[in-house]
Amino acid sequence: MAPHTHILLNRLVGFLGSALLLSSFAMLSMRRMSSLVRIFALQGLLLTLGTLSVAIVAGEPHLLFSALFTFIFKVLVLPIILFRLLERLRIRGEVEVLLNVPTTMVVGLFVVVFSFALASPISELASTVSRGLIGVGLAALLLSFLMMITRKKAITQVLGFLGMENALFFSAINATYGMPMVVELGVAFDVLVGTFVFGIFFFQIRETFESFDLKHMDNTQTE
């Protein structure tokens, strides 16, 4: 491969990483449920492209398969399932938050700074081409976690969870060129099955509480 292509691809990986981080912030700030799912699909696409470029830069052919699976699951299957869920559950309303969006964004900024500080020694140890992006993965992971904390509805929790999985995958690829194929396949299926289970749960929850507000799922208080 020609060196300038190499540099270009390297830049591309960096660009995709920052786009991923941006998409995490976008998920934090979105107010409509359907746009949240769209951003999740976009995040999947960015992940696919990122994996693809790392595969080419590093010359790791098995990452090509990873990219393929990522595309199938995270760009096609999961968003479709989620959209159907939204449709069948007739969810159109706004995302309800526990902590208002600007405050969450500020907290998110601190989380990003923390993640980069945390990742710097790991980046020095790692031998991969895209080692600078480990911090991005960690930041995306913590941001998704933050989303799970600050949102009220059960579906947003699931999206936060899926976002965490994306971020983990991204970190793994950048730190060690991904996990073994078997593990990745297993994780992918786990996420799929998890989404199905969540879907069934949502129907049950609506049957029982006629709402998705998490406060109905709060543990009963003692006494």
Partner: protein, 683 residues
């Protein structure tokens, strides 16, 4: 196809397996054909007899064999070892359980098949796990057997699980047993990590052989000592961890109590000896450890027997008396550490053999007495001594057996209790040879406690026998009492014979104990090679005075003969039955006999500091006068209840963290994650 039993260790391991398989297969059989249970208990007893043989062989040959079997966890196969100390305790396990097992066959015959089958299974597994404790040579198999033993005995206590008090007692026992295990495990971990804080290097470090090579700094040696004493003490009933004993024993069926008190408490003694002498090793002990153990044992003995005296339930009386006896054993161990560390090996060996001898004695007479208490409860349907009385007429043979047990536990001369207490006293009499006032006075203080508690023991068991077996029946149940079944009498008879044997042939027993003492301490007993040496108890110091139980028994018989002759001579003083003399009182009833409480009144009066009493004496003008007296173990109001209150206070404040909101829980995870990551990063 039986492989040749070339070593006692192989024989013992085969018997462990035999016990377990007999238990599994036998419980299935008992469930289908309940009548078989008596024979199956006989089979277990036969296996116990083989175990006793293996232990005896090990002691006679002084063999010390190790065996490594595949299995266990990766990197740590099962290590087994039978050295003279293990052999001694295996002999104790085998010989004392024979009687209890035969007895159980008769005791459980009227129970429903399910109960009977379960009890059979638990008994067999219990024996097998105790054997495992004695044979273990690495921490893993030791803890495995130890925990199995704790669990199985928990279920044995829960035989009558429908009763609320039984469940409470069982739960308390389980709590204590697991707390103790934790401490023991910690002691093992310290020994395995060779005193370094980074932990053991490999799993092989957990074998006892590797642990015995450990060199510890003095503070760590003290820590291991304390952990072992408290950990094994929770099982043995060391103060203040004894509270489960007086609750568990009345709750459990008699054979279970006999096994628990007679044998299981000895596993704790064994474990303590193994860690202190075997793993930590004598060079790392300090004389002050001995003083601590000596005083702890002495206080335990006095406390145990004082409370035994106050009990009116025969089984709680025996339970408190177990605390006393374990106290005596610990006192002996402490004494031996003290002597061995101050350069008096012979006195140390005598004290250690006194402790081991007492462990063996206690296994026999306490099993016997628990079985006796079981027959008392079975025959009368009462659990209170105040509702028994006059049982000797109804149950002459078992009464006679119990009388032998009572003599032994009181330490009266021709019996085995006398032998071991004599040995310990002889060891304490070497105090003048010690240098240092503290050492000397500690030993003499221990001696005083020992003598006081054995005198009180005699009084306590006079109460046990006098109120229970003598006098007039105090209830309908006692009036209709009947002699127990044949297997029960055979079982008690076996234990009685064992007790008498241990009393009459001390030299023979000591020659066996010698090997165990030598392997532990490297000190040998003074030799007793003079003419008719076997009839004499160990003379100590070597040319000092000695005593002979056989001679004493002959003397007693000689003194008793004229009385017997005067009473029984035909023609003179015909026997006639007449109402008991009522001291001039015209209407004596059975209610005017001394009761269990009145018997102990002087003791309550003399030792008020030990008791927390609630007494209500009605005033003369009370229209409905009721005298009430409640004596409680002071450890409950002073230690355990405040502890429980503190515990629930902490638990309730911790409850505030649990808000029940998912978001809050997520914040907890998030904060923990951030914290751990920053620790990782900026360590």
């Amino acid at each position: 196809m039986i492989p040749p039993l070339t070593t006692p260790l192989l024989e013992s391991l085969w018997i462990l397996a035999a016990w377990a398989t007999t238990g599994l297969a036998g419980s299935w059989l008992v469930l289908r054909i309940p009548a078989l249970s008596r024979f199956l208990y006989g089979l277990l007893a036969l296996e116990s007899l083989f175990m006793a043989h293996s232990g005896f062989r090990g002691l006679a040959e002084r063999s010390d064999t190790r065996l490594v079997l595949a299995g266990g966890i990766p990197g740590l196969p099962f290590h087994f070892r039978q050295d003279p100390l293990s052999s001694f305790f295996l002999l104790l396990l085998g010989a004392a359980s024979v009687g209890t097992l035969i007895y159980t066959g008769g005791f459980m015959k009227n129970e429903p098949p399910r109960t009977n089958a379960l009890f059979f299974l638990r008994t067999a597994l219990f024996l097998s796990s105790m054997g495992g404790v004695f044979l273990a040579d690495d921490a893993y198999i030791f803890m495995l057997s130890w925990e199995l033993m704790a669990l199985v005995s928990f279920f044995m206590i829960l035989t009558e699980r429908k009763r609320e008090d039984v469940r409470r007692a069982g739960y308390l026992y389980l709590l204590m047993a697991h707390g103790g295990s934790l401490l023991i495990l910690f002691a093992f971990a310290l020994l395995a990590s060779h005193g370094s804080l980074s932990g053991p290097h490999s799993l092989e470090d957990f074998s006892f052989f590797s642990m015995s090579k450990t060199l510890l700094s003095p503070p760590l040696a003290l820590l291991v000592f304390l952990l072992a004493v408290l950990g094994f003490g929770a099982k043995a009933g060391i103060l203040p961890l004894h509270v489960w004993l007086p609750l568990a024993h009345p709750a459990a069926p008699a054979p279970a109590s006999a096994l628990l008190s007679g044998i299981m408490l000895k596993t704790a003694v064994y474990g303590l000896l193994r860690i202190l002498f075997g793993l930590e090793g004598l060079p790392q002990l300090h004389a002050s450890f001995g003083i601590g153990l000596l005083l702890a044992g002495g206080v335990m003995a006095l406390f145990g027997i004082l409370y035994a005296l106050l009990q009116s339930n025969p089984k709680s009386l025996l339970a408190y008396s177990s605390i006393e006896n374990i106290g005596i054993i610990l006192l002996g161990i402490g004494l031996s550490i003290l002597y061995l560390k101050t350069g008096h090996p012979a006195a140390g060996a005598v004290a250690l053999s006194g402790a081991l001898y007492h462990a063996m004695n206690h296994a026999f007479f306490k099993s016997l007495l628990f079985l006796g208490a079981g027959t008392m409860v079975h025959a009368t349907g009462e659990t209170d001594l105040n509702r028994m009385g006059g049982l000797l007429h109804k149950m002459p043979l078992s009464g006679l057996f119990v009388l032998v047990g009572v003599f032994s536990i009181s330490g009266l001369p021709p019996t085995n209790g006398f032998v071991s207490e004599w040995l310990l006293l002889q060891a304490t009499l070497q105090a003048p040879s010690l240098s240092g006032t503290i050492l000397r006075s500690a030993v003499l203080f221990g001696a005083a406690l020992l003598v006081l508690s054995s005198a009180l023991a005699a009084m306590g068991f006079l109460k046990f026998f006098g109120i229970g077996y003598l006098g007039q029946p105090r209830s309908e149940g006692a009036r209709d009492a009947h002699e127990c079944s044949l297997p029960e009498r055979i079982g008690m008879g076996w234990l009685t014979l064992g007790t008498l044997f241990l009393g009459f042939f001390p030299a023979f027993v000591l020659s066996g104990i010698r090997g165990a003492v030598f392997s532990l301490s490297g000190a040998d007993l003074p030799s007793f090679s003079h003419e008719f040496g076997w009839t004499w108890l160990l003379p100590f110091p070597p040319h000092g005075p000695s005593t002979s139980p056989i001679f004493l028994a002959g003397l007693l018989l000689l003194l008793a003969l004229p009385v017997f002759w005067l009473a029984r001579l035909p023609g003179r003083g015909r026997r006639r039955s007449a109402p008991a003399w009522g001291c001039g009182y015209p209407g004596p009833t059975e209610r005017s006999q001394a009761s269990a409480e009145s018997f102990a009144q002087p003791i309550r009066h003399f030792f008020p500091v030990f008791f927390s009493m609630k007494r209500h004496i009605p005033t003369p003008d009370d229209p409905d006068p009721v005298f009430s007296l409640a004596v409680e173990d002071p450890h409950w109001p002073l230690l355990y209840r405040p502890l429980f209150r503190l515990f629930s206070l902490v638990a309730e404040s911790a409850e505030k963290v649990r808000t029940g909101r998912i978001s809050v829980y997520l914040v907890y995870s998030f904060a923990t994650l951030l914290f751990l990551l920053s620790v990782l990063r900026w360590r």
